[in-house]
Symmetry: D2
Subunit: 448 residues, 4 copies
């Protein structure tokens, strides 16, 4: 722990924010309150947590702001539990040092501060990086966030950044914010479940919190909580299958991707007159943007350009903008290794039907998608959850849970081919041939 | 009923939208599906139901789209109940004719189609009228909505409009969409409760539906459902007190109002160069807008201008824009008839402190607010709820319910004075005098 | 506070009971755990909380055990809130002394320990008194409860008893267990709502807890929580109207009452042979029972006798027993002051139809019923809720809440006449005349 | 279908029962209403659904009555869905014939009518069989149930019985009541989850109902509902792991079993004087009981005998009765194949400590327990769930779901050894040796 005295003004009486998931968010420190009131944090109100998912689940219109305060609240509850049940009494006893609370809570609150509008697609097209931007926002002396953090101590912004970057020395603090069962994932599963109106993401938060305990190398769970942890893992799995990887949201993501790609190309080809240029996107088209340029962006700005582009003379740009705003998703089918070879022919038929295949077809994997959290292909990650027995010995979750083992280290997503809905409705040989390759939502093996 | 054969293609198999409030929205007719897919209806996804309320209750980020499909679903359930339990068997028997279903469902779905961004404030500043605009959207042959409705019959758009305008001859259909206990209010109470995370708006929808019955003059409730109706009335009252009239949301509404007012003034004084003009707002500044101009507007457009205005050279415009986007609400206190006389002095002190009182102070009543639904001052409205006894005789709710009587025909809101938070923090005699007029959240009587 | 050192072993790690209302009941002290494990407390598992209400709301089968641990849990949460936010720093500062925690928690847990089966009716017939019996159970050295309490200190049982009897000197402790908004009422409203499946009893427990604060004369609420308190009062009112005073439950209570009355009479007239005597009820028939006799009783014992009595040669006893067990409630109608005079004629007609009017008719008020908590006729009680303003001054709730005022100090129940269902079905002049007196669920005024 | 005209009086207006799980139970036919009002059905109010489970989860006090009406309600909803979406139009088209509704609903309502108190244990000790008794209750002309069913047609009781016995010719009706995903299991998972307060058993009932469809050989699910079915299977699995197989409930079951065993032995050894004989159990001790004897039994009767036996001179009977009523469960540890050999030594140590090992020790498997539904060892059962693709072809669930495959056909329960808690607390070499065999909740391998 830092020997420098850190400054944390406790509020004389705690304040609350009403929250649908946690009932209340309890604010007990002036620093946290001030961070919430910065303009960089308030900007998260204007960026939706789930991007295009509300086109599938219309309730999913919640912002990154609501998620961020939720992550803070879960981290706060973990700190309370640890401080009450597992307080450290001597150095290196593997228990919880409550002087870590403030850095943990700030990291929890600010872990998504670097996200921009439609983050996944935007990053892909414009090579921005929300993790690097998070660090910048924390460390740049120009931001209000940095000014608040520096009130604690000069090195405090860097400490908070290092927690988010997973380089902070105390593994308990790091794992509270990022690990298989961290405050971030727990909040988004509960919150996305609530707002989509699906129940797949619900799990027993209170029981998980009861079973959590600090140890030398981070955070573990008492073995009697095995089924609660299992339930969490299954819930997460189901949310990915049912919500995050939903074909319609992925289709809208495809349209968005192609729309921004087209805009970038038009910019590069000097399509627009000076007074019709999308001013706030220019630094990104040009590949040279400042932190300030980035902090001005939000969903509103992008959607406003999409509205303007609906009337653009470029037929591809305007058509894609309209499909996006008026929710006209592409259709999609699954394909397997052995039917991949049909894809060029399908693209060619889309082309024959009058659609530029670059913009009107796409393939993607369900794992190649907006949720950085969960990568089913990486065995070692799921293996990280440790259970502790009465005598203090540890055991890996997947070695004792058949359910978890079943979904560990295996690819359970799907690969899909996207194309305009018109291909399913059109008349004539091109369309008929196209449809002859499809069956039961899959590309058929043409040899059959 | 019209003798013209109306066209309603039933879907071979019903489709569903997942919804957090009703679990599923059941779509059984092609017309309804096509209406949802129009661009005018999809636009409602980009207009928040509660405007500035999410600055108080951060979960309240849901759109008018989710509410509109919810109203449709409740109307559908009412039709189902009526068709099963109270089917008409002869003209004028006061029971339900299920041929009215389609017009009722279309009116339910489209009743809010004319709303724009931040409706209440926008209408106030620009003299738009969402009810007139709703009629225009239904009746103009240029809209996709009109094109879908005309598929039913040439007069169908007008029929739907007349339901919304309350001139349709069948009072059961009219009251299903607009009355004290209609599909509209029932959905928004449940939905706003859910998304804000308060529970005040919950009531027993299923029991209300069971107790509803058609009669000659509209819709009534069996007397044994009196307590369920009472519970609904109390829930509505509590939502107004706790959510819709919340001082912080009203304060953000004040800032928004003054921000648009300032922008309008700047336009009139030719403040902006040609290339910096807020193009999409010009028709509204000029007082001459087309339906197409209106349909382009949404929350995104307005918020984008607010972002741009944060850097405007006009200090009032930029300051108000920043207060709005970064959520810096004005503070407020209540006042009573006898303390009203202090207001000029308070405004003068705000002025002395360096704030233009026109833009930095305001007064408003809680009933002078964005919810057209509920006007506590109008006794005759609450009186409209009729209960039916076993022998068919009717009784007015407020004559049998002491609770309802207690809140009928009385003004239960408050009147507030708004001012910059700086007035509570500043040092010096101006600020001290200002604060000497306040006590316990009220303006003090200066004579005491 | 007692200067005697009191003994409270804190558990090294808290234990939990899973609970549907509070998610978990947290047990942190060995004394509480030991009290739950006494046989007197376990006996509460065999006594239903709502007696005959499950004949109306079939889910309402929960026991006094679940309610008692729930009251404990709410009291525990109040202590936590008070200890964190309002800790005493000097004598008589009106704040919370956490050394009161154990006596408060024990009183919360044990407040219903003296209840027997079908308490209200049983007490009425046999002149038992659950409050006196509660004190006996706490104070008698023969009970396990007393043995556990004495471990704290010799006077501790008496201290706990005095809290329940409202003679304990600290009014904060007394009001936590019994006042208008106490742990007892808050738990039963939430719990009875949950198990009946009605929602009328739900209110915002967390917000109420946040608004509660200790003061010199007991417990008050911050004025900003006025609407939350109002919501609680309305919920309580609605539960009484909708659940606790439900005519069918009251009818089953009438049958039970008459059944026990008949059994008592048969005992007094030596109806039963020695080997068919209801052994466990004899001390109560004879009016001479010991604490041990009382503690053996539970719902099972009474219901077993009712099953045996179904085959008793006495036709009234066996018929009433069958009506009770097989759920054949009497029917009922309301009457008013001016139609009271018809009652003798109705009873006479029931008699003519072949039913002994003593056992087959009854009248009761909805307030003359099993819930000691709420007496709408007593104005001074509702007046007890005090709200505290920012400057520490107090205001009575009913002076600021129109809703609360509307239901304070007024009789809102109904008076009903009960009779066999057969009277509504039979043929012939007796039955026809009987029915001619009824209309819309009320006794008609015969002069009309 | 029978050509005999069957009689089903539809109620002019549907009646409802308030239910916490389904909100309302809708009664639309006079036959169903009359069945609910029979004394045999009302008796289910006095038999708890989960027997000893409330000793672990105190909320689980609900009766078989509430479950039975819930199963009826789900079956009713399935019939509605089938009738609306998949009505038969010609013989053998594999679609739903709504003339099957009444027999399906009666079977759903009555499927558990033959259950007695603490069914699993009681059956084991007294060789009763609730399935045979169900058939008797339906077919015996002495029961009220039979009298109601015969109103439909003389063969109707036999038809209902054959559905429950799975010999009814229409597989859709049979599978609606008993299959992997039937109305019975769906209700008990949701209901037991609700009353225990765990969430493991929740699944998306509405979505399951939407995905269900009749086909020639029974009931299948559309393939797009795969994840919803998966979620149901996982929920069921988790309820078994977490609730139904909970060690404390199993321990209470062990005590109950030994208590009844002891009573039977005492009867056989003429332990009791004539006037102290447990009259209502005698037919069962003697192995000769009538249907009437059986129908008199319920939880109340058994618990009353247990109360009486607490004072019995036989020390084993009285001690076990007290442990059962006062909730003093045995403790337990798991054992594996290789540590099984230690059991005799452990039993011997329990004996040395003064406990008769026949009554004070036991072993059991988690699958050897009160829930007939789920037998993890039987692969073919889980294989029965079929999914239907768009082209009508079928696929087995476990071949497409990795999660389901992971828990199919594998033994996932545990084997436990039960012993008195005193063994963990006692002092001296016997107790120390006993405890030396235990570690981390398991029997240790003594060679280690």
């Amino acid at each position: 722990m830092s020997s420098i005295k850190e400054h944390d003004k406790l509020l004389p009486r705690e304040k609350v924010l009403r929250d649908p998931i946690h009932s209340y968010i309890y604010i007990q420190s002036q620093i946290i309150l001030d961070l919430i009131n910065t303009k960089e944090f308030q900007r998260l109100r204007r960026i939706r947590q789930l991007g295009t998912a509300s086109s599938t689940f219309h309730g999913a219109e919640h912002s990154r702001f609501t998620h961020s305060v939720g992550v803070y609240e879960i981290a706060r509850q973990i700190c309370d539990t640890f401080a009450r049940n597992y307080p450290t009494s001597q150095p290196n006893d593997g228990l919880w040092d409550d002087r870590e609370r403030l850095v943990a809570l700030c990291a929890a609150l600010l872990h998504d501060i670097g996200h921009g509008p439609y983050s996944h697609t935007f990053e892909h097209i414009f090579q921005t990086n929300h993790e690097a931007l998070t660090a910048q926002i924390l460390l740049s002396p120009k931001t209000e966030v940095n000014q608040v953090l520096r009130q604690v101590s000069p090195v405090f912004p860097q400490k908070v950044a290092s927690v988010i970057q997973k380089t902070y020395p105390n593994p308990q603090v790091v794992q509270m914010i990022s690990s298989q069962i961290d405050a971030d994932r727990m909040d988004y599963l509960l919150r996305d479940s609530y707002f989509t109106g699906t129940n797949y993401g619900t799990f027993d938060l209170r029981r998980i919190l009861r079973m959590m305990r600090p140890y030398r190398n981070g955070i573990t769970f008492h073995v009697s909580g095995m089924h609660a942890v299992e339930d969490y893992i299954i819930s997460r799995f189901q949310m990915y299958q049912q919500v995050y990887f939903h074909p319609v949201s992925r289709s809208m993501e495809v349209i968005l991707n192609h729309l921004l790609l087209r805009a970038k190309l038009l910019y590069q080809s000097s399509h627009w007159d000076k007074d019709r240029l999308p001013q706030m996107l220019l630094p990104f088209f040009a590949g040279k943007f400042s932190l300030l340029d980035y902090l001005k962006l939000d969903d509103n700005i992008l959607n406003t350009y999409f509205t303007i582009w609906c009337d653009d003379p470029d037929p591809i740009l305007s058509d894609l903008a309209r499909r996006f705003l008026n929710r006209k998703p592409f259709k999609s089918v699954c394909y397997a290794e052995q039917t991949k070879k049909v894809l060029p022919q399908l693209k060619s038929l889309v082309h024959q039907a009058g659609f530029d295949a670059t913009y009107y077809t796409a393939t993607n994997n369900s794992y190649d998608l907006p949720y950085d959290a969960y990568e089913p292909g990486q065995k070692q990650q799921a293996a990280q959850i440790k259970l502790m027995r009465d005598d203090g010995s540890l055991v890996e979750l997947s070695t004792v849970s058949k359910l978890v083992k079943a979904i560990t280290g295996k690819f359970l997503g799907d690969e899909r081919f996207f194309f305009p809905k018109e291909m399913l409705l059109g008349q004539g040989p091109t369309f008929q041939e196209f449809r002859s390759y499809l069956k039961n939502g899959w590309i058929k093996n043409p040899t059959k």
